[in-house]
Every structure is written in C-alpha cells, then in structure tokens.
Amino acid sequence: MTFALQLHSVSKKFGGHAVLKGLNLDVATHEFIAVLGSSGSGKTTLLRLITGFDSPDTGEVFIGGRQVAGGQKFVPAEQRRVGFVPQDAALFPHLSVADNISFGLKDLSKPERSVRVAELLKLVDLIGFDERMPHELSGGQRHRVALARALAPNPDLILLDEPFSALDAELRGRLRDDVRQVLRTTGTTAILVTHDQEEALSMADRVAVLRDGEFAQVGNPREIYQAPADIEMATFLGDSVVIDGVVTDGKITTALGSLTPLNKVVEGARGRVAIRPESFYLQPDAKGTGEVVGRQFFGHDALVEVKLPGALIRARANGPFAPEIGMRVTVWVRGSVNFYAN
C-alpha cells in the first residue's frame, strides 16, 4: 500500500518548549483525514512541517513515498507538490480569479492553462468568475477560489488550515459539503486542520486528535465519538455527562442505575462513565426520581437539565416532546457506556 503522507516520530521544539512530541501517522492515498486539536495543541506547527515552511528537529516526513524532511534531507515547500488552503484564503490581491488559479500552472502552455482553469471553475461552481478580482468576491467564493488554486497543479496532497473558521454558520456548512464533494471528485488526499469537532467528525474519513503535541487518538469519526480513549477525550469531543461508578458483577453501578459497559472492565474497579446527552431517554413519570430544572429549546431538539439524587444531567430530547420545567421524570440510559477506571 502506498501512503500519501507518512510521519515517523516527528518532533519540534520552539525555544525549549516541545510543541510536537514524536508524532507517527500514515495517511493513505485518497484519504481525507482531519487533525483535530484546540489552540496550542501544535496543529499549526504540524501543518507547517508538512508544507515545508518549517523543518522538524527529529523524525522523518514522507510524501508519496518520497522523503521530504529528516536527517540531512529537506525538500523546500516549492518542490513538495503539497497544495495549501490557508485560513483567510490569502488570494493574490493583484490577480484575477483565473490568474490566481493558474498561478501554479507554469509547466502548461497557455491554451492548456485556460482549459485547466475552466475545469476548476466548473469544479468549484464559479463558472463566469474568471475575470473577477479577489475584492469582488464574497467570503465563500474566495475560499472556493483558494481551493481551486491549490488543486490546479494536481498536488499529491492538499492541506486545509481551518479554512472555514472565519465564515458564518450557514456558509460554513454549505462550504464543507462543497469542499468534501470537490475532493471526492478529484480523489485528492486531504488533511484538514481544525479545532471544530463537528467539522472534523462530519467531513473526515479519519480523525487524528492532537493533544499537547501528541496524537491522543486516531480513528474513524464513529469510533472516536463512541469510544473515546479517555475521559478528557470524551468531554473534548462533545457534551458529556460524567458520573462516578463502580464495577459490580460486570455492570457499572451509578447514580443512574446499573449500566452496561462497552469496553473491558475489571471487577470492583472504581471510575467514571461518560454519557452523551442524546443517550438519555426521559420518561415522564409522576413517581420518577428526576426533576426537570432547566430547558434550552433549539427547535429540532432541546437540552433538558434533570436533577437526580446525587447527579445533575443534561439530556437531549426531541424538541416538541421535551418535558417541561418542574415535571418529574425517570431517566433511562440507552445502549452501553464507556467506563474509565480511576
């Protein structure tokens, strides 16, 4: 199997502070991988090492099987064939849309170039925008031009640096779909760097969670979301209710009753379980132990706060049918849960 990108124990320090600590990652050809991390996790540094704007202190980087960094070897950015879509699009302000897209097409003849530009404009759905200048485009259009520009030279790999963070929610959602669609069409291997869990989970084939310069967990979005490696990961990836529990007879005894563990557990172990708000089922019940104390209505669903003896939980409920404040409910947990021993 050929890999589009391989990192072998890549490390980088800035002024004595270790930003990346021996990262290993293999990205298969045609794969779309998201590197998810909060600010300061080292994701920007990682990106700069792959594009070739910086070099690692130790470790090796391979792109398409070719070593580009490590040891005595360093291939500069302009020879790596790695497409790059920066955060603010960074279109060349003095060039038209067509000239921006054809910037990296220096090996093609003029007619070939205009054919390629036309292809890409079609791909990103901007036909007829050739002669526009960057300042005449909307935010979403600018990002699509930036994507087309990066894809134009047919790179082996494309890096997207938080490309949607400056846009409003609606545009962001639409652009995500567009980008995913475009990359699926071209079959380009892509690495998306982001701090947005939803973005990473919804777009990528695989998610690599970067924490303090290390990959805390790598897996497909479903795995990552359903089986977080530890309790911090569980809370980082989305809203979770954390509750203490003890393993007894293969089950976990908690304030919410006896729950079935998803992972392997040791009899008698003390620890915590993380439960997603959507895993709760609230049954209206005058004799129930829970009392609804808060409710946030979102239209399609609602977040309901329920006070139980010994716990306060937030449950996601179907919007129109969510229980009212003051109602008594019985709380059920659907499916199995992850248990993390202390």
Partner: protein
C-alpha cells in the same frame, strides 16, 4: 547586491575616517571644539527640528484631509500638497530672495525647507492612510471616542511609522541641504564645510565639521525606531471605508490648506515668472537644451539604479529581518545624511586613489546619486513591501514558485506602486541635486542645476531664471506621476466602495 550598496555607501565615511586620522587627533579636536562649531551646531539642530516638526504637522494634516475626509476639492488639495516637490529648495530660495529683498536668515531657511520637505510626510502618510483599515476608526467611534480621540488613539498609531519615516527624510534633507541655506545666508554645517573647503587647501576643518554632522545623524538614527513605534501589518482584506464629514471645520481646513499653497507655490511661482520675462529674452536656447538633456539622463539613470538596489535592500530588510539586515539598513540611512558635498569629495578621493578611470565620468556621478538617494527609495518601498502578507509567500511556495519567482510574481506587483513612487522620488531628487553634480560631473557637462548655480553665484537673477523655470517644469513631471500613483489608489478604493454597496 545589497552588500555592494552598503560598501558603496560606506565609502564617504571611510574617507572621513582616513582624513581625520591623517590630520591627527589633536588638530581635529581643536577644530571641533571652537565656539564657531557650537554656533553651527545650534543653528543646524534647531533648524532641523523646526523643519521636521512643521513638516509632520503640515504633511499629516494634508494627507488626512485629502484621504479621509469628504472636504470639497480634496483632489485639488492632493495635487497642491505634492506640488512643492517640483521646486528644488534652492530654486525656491532663489525665487523668494529675488522677490523679497532682505529675505534671509533662520526663518527664511525654515520656511523654504519646510515648503520643500512637507510633501515627503504628506506622501508617506497618505499612502499609509489609503492602506489602513478605516473600519477600525468606525469601531472606535462606536466605542464612544470623539473625532480627536479617534485620531489620537487609532489613526495616529496606524500612520505614525509613515509620518516618522517622512519626517526623518525631512530632517535629513535639512541637515544636508546646501543650496538653500547658502543662498539665504544661514550658517549651517554644510555651508561652513563648503566655505572651509573652498577657502583653503587644508581640508582638516571641512572634515572635522563633517564628522560632527555625521554624529548628529547617528543620534537621529538611534532615536528613529523609538519614535516610529512598532510597524503593525494591516489587514489584507479590503473593506468599505466612509469619508469623514467635517461640518463647520471643512471651510476652515480648506482655507488653511489654500493659504499654505499660496505661500509655498504661488509666491515663488510669481517670482519665477516675473524674472523670466526679463531672463528668457536673453537666453541661449542651445545651452538650455544641452543642460536639459543632461539633467534628464542623470535623473533616469539615478532613478533606475536606485530602484534596483532599493528593492534588493527592502526585501532583505523586511522579509529576512535579522541583526545583520537591520545593520545594513541603518548603514545606508547613515550615509544619506552625509552632505552631498562630502560624498562628492570622498568620491573624488576614492576614485583618485583606487580607480582613476572613474574620475570625472558620469558613472561617478551616478554612484554619488545612489549613495545619496538610496534611502529615499527604501523609505518609499519598505512599507508597501512589508504590506504584502507573508501568507501569500507561503501559498506561492506551495504552488511551486521559487523565492525569486515569488518576488517577481507576487511581492513586486503588489508593492509596484510603492516601488514606482520610490524610483520617481529618486529621479526628482537627482534633478534637484546640486553639490555632488557640481563637483563630480564630467568636464564640460552642464545640467540645469549647475547652470542655475553658476548664474546665481554671480547674482545674475535674470540669467538664472530660465534654468530655474525649466528645472521646475522638468521636476514637475515626475512629481505629477508620483502624485497620480497616490490618487489612483484612491480611485480604486472608490470602485470597491461602489461594488460593496451593490451587494
């Protein structure tokens, strides 16, 4: 390339050092510590500070008024603000002196040099204002700041680097001005150096005075980064800007600008025209044309060579900032303050000793221009080059462009207006240049400036008049070009406004 520029620029200082050493430290000390030196020191320093302060006030005000406000006639004011660049300060000095008998001394020199150097601040600040983000001003107003506080806390910090860079040029110009102070009989270092050089074969006095002048420049240079503040890269995104409506202050501001235009432009122009009625009838047209052709060739050659070296140095200093490149930048600035007459003398000395083939050739004059005016080019180029964001370099690299290619295809086109402005500024300065041209030109080659000087030095105001007029007309073309650059970027801004309004 940048290293060549530095080595060339260092020649005058090396010469100065060698000379001082040859004379012996004791002789130099007795020369420098005379009461006369302190008088010259006070004259030069006070004049320089007064001119720089006046230039900042006048230039920044004109820039703010023409770029940021909706005052009527601002496009005309923009032309008027840059127009004095068309008149070399010694021509203005000549015009004032010929018009008003008894016009001489400190205030005369202050007025003439402020007229000549305020446009440097105006051009630098208006360019910075065009590129700065007016939305920040609107935000500041929404946070409850009044007009004055918006200017003080938001606008001024954004334009301060440009204003200080412009005022620095103004101060350096004043320190090294020779023609105007000589015509207006105000004793500064340059005039004293020239007189000392001319009046005796002993050059230790001239060299000693020049050393003090260099020392003052060093003080200015040390203070500059502190005065300039941090250069804040502006947001590269283009936003809609709205002009400030001045209300009752509008007519007053317009009147102030017009009064200044009357003093700085109308008065000397009237004088020039009056003297030309007498002068033109007796002029030798052949002489006039030869001088014109020589002036233009020197100006073009000077502009092109300064642009090439200016780009190299600016890119190095802005993009690859390190201790070495900052030192390089400072060195080039330092040599700019060495008066033209000292640069010329040193080049005579250097060429005599090392490359006699160069002595009394036009190549030597061009080298002198490069030494003298490279800082003007760099001052104009550095800010626009710094404003092409580094992210663009990285994108270009990811698309396979080498550094040189990125420079050619990204940085230069974006910084193009600034670079052209820099080259034009140098050509203008070359046209106006007097002392170095006087000393170094090829035997028999006369320029407009040298002809004007020859006639003025024998007090024949009428014979000098056609050269003065021609000099103004020829220097006026690049001044107009330079001004157009700034106005064009204003028009572009207006187009963007319209497009954004439509959406």
């Amino acid at each position: 390339m940048a290293v060549v520029a530095v080595l060339t620029s260092l020649a005058p200082l090396v010469y100065l050092g060698v000379r001082l050493n040859e004379f012996g430290i004791e002789k130099v000390l007795t020369q420098t510590l005379r009461a006369r030196s302190f008088e010259l020191l006070a004259n030069s320093v006070v004049l320089t500070l007064a001119v720089a302060a006046a230039s900042i006030l006048i230039g920044s005000f004109q820039a703010w008024l023409t770029v940021r406000t909706s005052v009527r006639g601002r496009s005309v004011f923009a032309i008027l603000a840059a127009l004095p660049l068309a008149m070399p300060s010694y021509v203005a000095a000549y015009a004032f002196a010929a018009l008003l008998p008894g016009f001489k001394g400190f205030w005369a020199a202050w007025l003439v040099l402020t007229i000549g150097t305020a446009p440097y601040v105006y051009l630098a600040v208006s360019a910075a204002l065009v590129r700065s983000d007016a939305a920040t001003e609107e935000v500041a107003r929404s946070l409850g700041l009044g007009r004055w506080n918006v200017f003080r806390r938001v606008t001024w910090p954004a334009i301060r680097p440009a204003a200080v860079a412009g005022a620095m040029l103004s101060a350096l110009y004043t320190l090294s001005d020779f023609g105007a102070v000589s015509i207006l009989s105000f004793d500064t270092f340059t005039r004293a150096i020239y007189n000392a050089y001319r009046s005796s074969f002993d050059r230790s006095a001239a060299a000693s005075l020049a050393a003090i002048l260099v020392a003052i420049t060093i003080v200015l240079l040390v203070a500059e980064p502190w005065l300039r503040g941090r250069l804040v890269p502006t947001d590269s995104r283009v936003r809609k800007t709205s002009h400030i409506h001045l209300g009752w202050f509008g007519p007053i501001a317009a009147a102030l600008v017009l009064i200044w235009a009357g003093i700085s432009i109308a008065l000397p122009t009237i004088s020039l025209i009056r003297w030309n009625f007498i002068g033109l009838s007796q002029a030798d047209t052949g002489e006039l044309f030869r001088a014109l052709a020589n002036s233009i060739s020197y100006a073009l050659a000077g502009g092109v060579i300064a642009a090439i070296f200016g780009i190299a140095v600016s890119v190095l200093v802005v993009r690859y900032r390190s201790k070495a490149t900052v030192l390089l930048d400072k060195t080039i600035w330092l040599t700019h303050a060495v008066p033209g007459i000292v640069v010329a003398l040193s080049l005579v000395f250097v060429s005599n000793r090392l490359v006699p083939q160069l002595y009394q050739t036009s190549a030597l004059v061009i080298i002198a221009y490069l030494i003298l005016f490279l800082p003007n080019a760099i001052a104009a180029m550095q800010t626009p080059i710094a404003q092409a964001p580094k992210a663009l370099d990285e994108v270009a690299a990811s698309l396979g462009a080498s550094r040189l290619e990125t420079l050619k295809r990204v940085v230069l086109p974006i910084a193009g207006p600034g670079i052209l402005a820099g080259a034009a500024l140098v050509s203008l300065s070359v046209l106006k240049e007097l002392p170095a041209t006087l000393m170094l030109r090829e035997t028999g080659v006369e320029t407009l400036a040298t002809r004007l000087w020859n006639e003025t030095s024998v007090s024949s105001f009428a014979a000098a008049a056609p050269y003065a007029l021609l000099l103004v007309l020829v220097a006026g073309i690049p001044a107009w070009l330079l001004n157009r650059q700034v106005r064009q970027s204003l028009y572009n801004q207006a187009d963007i406004d319209r497009i954004l309004e439509r959406e």
